[in-house]
């Protein structure tokens, strides 16, 4: 018995050691770089110096940048609410048919990187050769189209259509989780269905709607891909693209300026998150209670109209850009129009035979695989430690992981650049020492991805863990297993499909990641996203479209696989 106790303690300590190491790595690769960034913003070569910060904030350009960024984020947020709330209501409260398929289709933009959808929209609405502009020109004349996507409105349009699922899914969740008798009581008190919506349903889901809108605001503010592809060509800059430009420039002044902007971005994100935390708590308070099957509003003769409109949204938000993307990828020569003769799969051959594509693809694949493995392994351990054990400091790791998750990717990447652009000297006991430069290598990308998505790994593990009945683990404990033993022999095997799903759910977004990749890639480590940007900006959009189409295919099938693996609980 003593031996077993000792083993138990050792294994529990084993878990603690792993947690401690992971926490340490988070401190080094997330907290330290962020701290360094904040310090460098107020400490110059001569010590404490508010000068650069003050001049950056006093600069009119900075404020106009902030204004543009906030406008873009607000506009996006507004569109997400306008689209997300009604769609959620129709899905949760009416008798539209094929809800499963409809919900999946409406949620599609959530899993596709917005910059890929942007390529499709650009093909349609760019001022020079945009398709729609071309058609409008035949009606109204002119050489340059009336619609210019390279603008603030263009960014809002693309981002709004890409992020409305955030609001839709949150609202839908809240609606489904509501006690149906709250609405029924209003009906029996004399309220007609529409009255019920405005006096009971909406007030109760308002916090969830606001939370979704805030999240959309935050994500829009932190986004890089769309502002770069859609805004920059029109000389509309936001915080993220301006930081990128400054870092690209590389001078002392530019870096200092970038740091100043990064701090602003960070502060704005922090404020948004704090407000969101309050909203989430409020929402949970209002909706506590039994969930149940809500009474559905029978749409009667309005059903075909509603169904048609909802599928119309799918068509517009998903179908149009994707179809345009695929067609663009088949274009023989850009600008020569979309005549059928001009379409051929030749581009696919060109792109595939290009060495760069294969290298970039491979880079992204192995980096994403490694990052996914790290995130799921550490995430699962952290989730298990927090929820099922009483180890000291078990909350530290998930808490630390939330920081890089919430921080805008640009800011995190900046921090990593500042912290690790020098060589690191690692002393091996003895006389040998190793020089190690992380910058421009695959390691810095791996670190960035792992640190950014770790919280996501924890969250998906949390969700998967709730499916494992506590009594199964308790039975193992009373049979003599230690916490680590229970974890390895009972929990992990039971969670296996969910773990695979979680792995895929981290793997896919990492493949499509651009915000950090564009700042951290090196000559040998260009990722597939960065390559796509190269093609779109410097070569030919059809080539970019080829890469984009393949990425979409991989991402969608990956998500559907996840859905199958978890019986619909995770994934699309």
């Amino acid at each position: 018995m003593i031996a077993r106790m000792k083993r138990g303690i050792a294994q529990a300590s084993g878990l603690t050691v792993v947690m401690a190491v992971a926490a340490l790595l988070l401190l080094v690769f997330a907290v330290f770089p962020m701290g360094l960034l904040l310090i460098r913003s107020v400490v110059g070569p001569q010590g404490f110096d508010l000068g650069p910060l003050a001049s950056s904030w006093g600069d009119g350009r900075t404020w106009s940048l902030l204004g543009t960024t906030v406008s873009m984020a607000l506009g996006t947020s507004l569109i997400t609410v306008l689209l997300g709330v009604p769609t959620a209501w129709f899905l949760a409260r009416t008798d539209v048919p094929n809800k499963g398929a409809l919900k999946t289709a409406l949620a599609l933009p959530y899993v596709i990187p917005p910059y890929i959808l942007a390529i499709g929209w650009i093909t349609l609405f760019n001022p020079r050769s945009g398709l729609v502009n071309g058609w409008l020109q035949t009606v109204w004349g002119g050489a340059e189209g009336p619609l210019d996507i390279y603008s603030l409105w263009g960014m809002i349009f693309v981002l709004g259509l890409a992020y409305y699922p955030l609001v839709m899914l949150q609202t839908h969740s809240a609606l489904m989780g509501m006690d149906p008798s709250l609405e029924e009581a209003a009906r029996t008190s004399g309220a007609r269905p529409m009255r019920v919506v405005f006096t009971v349903t909406l007030p109760l889901v308002l916090p969830s709607i606001a939370s979704g809108a805030l999240l959309a605001f935050l994500v829009a503010m932190a986004s890089f891909g769309v502002p770069y592809l859609v805004g920059s060509p029109g000389r509309v800059e936001v915080l993220t693209t301006s930081i990128y430009t400054s870092i690209d420039l590389g001078t002392e002044d530019a870096i200092a300026r970038a740091i100043g902007l990064a701090v602003i971005l960070c502060v704005a994100a922090a404020v948004a998150l704090a407000v969101n935390a309050v909203l989430v708590r409020r929402g949970r308070a209002l909706l506590g209670g039994k969930a149940g099957r809500p009474s559905l509003v029978a749409l009667g003769r309005w059903r075909p109209v509603a169904t048609g409109t909802l599928w119309g949204v799918v068509l517009f938000a998903v179908g149009v850009p994707l179809l345009t993307l695929i067609t663009t990828s088949l274009l023989g020569s850009y600008g020569r129009g979309f005549a059928l003769e001009n379409l051929s799969p030749a581009n696919y051959a060109t792109v595939f035979s290009d060495d760069r594509t294969l290298r970039a693809g491979w880079t992204s694949l192995y980096l994403a695989a490694a990052a996914a493995t790290v995130c799921v392994a550490v995430g699962t351990l952290a989730s298990y430690a927090r929820k099922r054990t009483r180890l000291a400091g078990r909350r530290a790791l998930p808490f630390l992981a939330e920081l890089p998750y919430a921080v805008p990717g640009t800011v995190l990447a900046m921090g990593l650049i500042l912290a690790f652009s020098q060589e690191i000297w690692v002393f091996v006991p003895g006389t040998v020492y190793v020089r190690f430069l992380m910058f421009n290598t695959a390691w810095i990308l791996l670190v960035a991805y792992s640190v950014k998505f770790l919280a996501f790994g924890v969250r998906t593990s949390d969700a998967a863990l709730t499916q494992v009945d506590l009594s199964l683990e308790e039975a193992a404990r009373t049979s003599g297993a230690s916490p680590f033993g229970v974890f390895g022999r009972i929990v992990v095997p039971l969670m296996r499909p969910a773990l695979v799903a979680a792995w895929i759910l981290v793997f896919l977004p990492v493949i499509g990641e651009i915000t950090m990749s564009i700042l951290l890639f090196g000559p040998e480590t260009k990722t597939i996203g960065v390559l796509l940007f190269d093609y779109q900006t410097y070569e030919s959009p059809p080539k970019a479209a080829v890469v984009g189409t393949l990425m979409v295919a991989a991402i969608v099938s990956g998500n559907l696989l996840v859905k199958r693996l978890t019986g619909g609980k995770l994934g699309l």
Binding site: S181, E184, A185, R187, S189, A191
Partner: protein
């Protein structure tokens, strides 16, 4: 105040028939309890009266109005039926104060009452449920019992013609349940409103109702005043569901002028005086039968058959014994002072019973 009438009301969900042809007339001002086990269709029936579910067939009328008749394409939605409903989960709106909750139906009524009248009506309703003075509280500041009263006040503020209650007391603890039961009875006496009350708790039904409707698998088993349901069950289901009857299955061995004897399946004989046995339908000797014996009809003492105490359960108020006579197992209460030991030999007499053909 109105009567409620159900004619051949049916409800199916796809292939599944949840309510199969219910015929029921609830008189104006009557308190009717729908009683039955889970899944018997009582809640579905109540929701059809409320208009929250539409029947698949039949006719439902409240007062003079036909409110549901699928064959004629008639369906009046809940907001048009002028009923009051109290839900099992209270359904008190968390984003409105107590007063706002209770005032809600008044604000929707057309023609609208003047503001002063509405305020007075709300106060009156709150007083009736003993919540006067708590009008400004928010629901999350109230206990479960208080929230239930808010729900009741809200249902009554419009002076509805019918009051529907869906297992209103099942979420409350025993003390509170009794208290609320008394209050509901009191309110009902004062207002004289027609009440339809769904419950699975027979004690509640027996205590509150003018008539009880016992439902099983969507079919009405028996309708009658509490006494009749308890003392003269029409079939084995009702007999078994109401009261904690023990069932003895066997063959009717003899039927004399004085006494009848049941040969218990598995061994043993039970003897009961013939005029103390209720037989809704005559049973011939030799038939397989089910004899239902209520605990209060089993006594231990002289003149009985040999039996053994199998289980003795301490219930605080009494000792509940499970006594075996042959293969039959009979439940019976004894005072704590008597005491009992497992395996004790006793003499068992059955003083009353209900006999049904199996």
């Amino acid at each position: 105040m109105a009567q409620v009438q159900l004619e051949a009301v049916v409800k199916s969900y796809g292939e599944v028939k949840v309510v199969r042809g219910v015929d029921l007339t609830i008189a104006d001002g009557e308190f009717v309890a729908l009683l039955g086990p889970s899944g018997c269709g009582k809640t579905t029936t109540l929701r059809m009266i409320a208009g929250l579910e539409a029947p698949s067939g039949g006719v439902l009328s409240i007062g003079q109005d036909v409110v549901s008749a699928p064959a004629r394409g008639i369906f009046v939605p809940p907001e048009g039926r002028r009923i009051g409903m109290v839900f099992q989960s209270y359904a008190v709106w968390p984003h409105m104060s107590v007063r706002e909750n209770v005032a809600f139906p008044l604000k929707l009524a057309r023609p609208r009452k003047p503001a002063a009248d509405m305020r007075a009506a709300v106060e009156k309703a709150l007083d009736m449920v003993q919540l006067g003075g708590l009008g400004d509280r928010m629901p999350n500041q109230l206990s479960g019992g208080q929230q239930q009263r808010v729900a009741l006040a809200r249902a009554l503020v419009m002076e509805p013609r019918v009051l529907l209650l869906d297992e209103p007391l099942s979420n409350l603890d025993a003390h509170l349940r009794e208290e609320m039961r008394r209050e509901i009875a009191q309110i009902r006496r004062r207002l004289g409103v027609t009440v339809v009350y769904v419950t699975h708790d027979q004690e509640e039904a027996l205590a509150l109702a003018d008539r009880i409707v016992v439902l099983h698998r969507g079919v009405i088993q028996q309708v009658g005043p509490p006494r009749e349901i308890y003392e003269r069950p029409a079939n084995p289901f009702v007999g078994g569901f109401i009261g904690k009857a023990s069932a003895v299955v066997g063959v009717l061995e003899s039927l004399g002028a004085d006494a009848l004897v049941v040969a218990v399946e598995g061994g043993g004989h039970i003897r009961v005086a013939t005029d103390a046995v209720r037989m809704p339908e005559p049973v011939e000797v030799g038939r397989r039968v089910r004899l239902l014996v209520r605990p209060e009809s089993v006594t231990l003492g002289e003149g009985g058959v040999e039996g053994t105490v199998e289980v003795a359960t301490y219930l605080g108020t009494q000792l509940e014994l499970l006594v075996t006579v042959g293969a039959a197992r009979l439940r019976t209460p004894v005072p704590i002072s008597r005491g009992a030991t497992v395996g004790e030999a006793v003499l068992v007499r059955v003083t009353e019973g209900h006999l049904f053909a199996e």
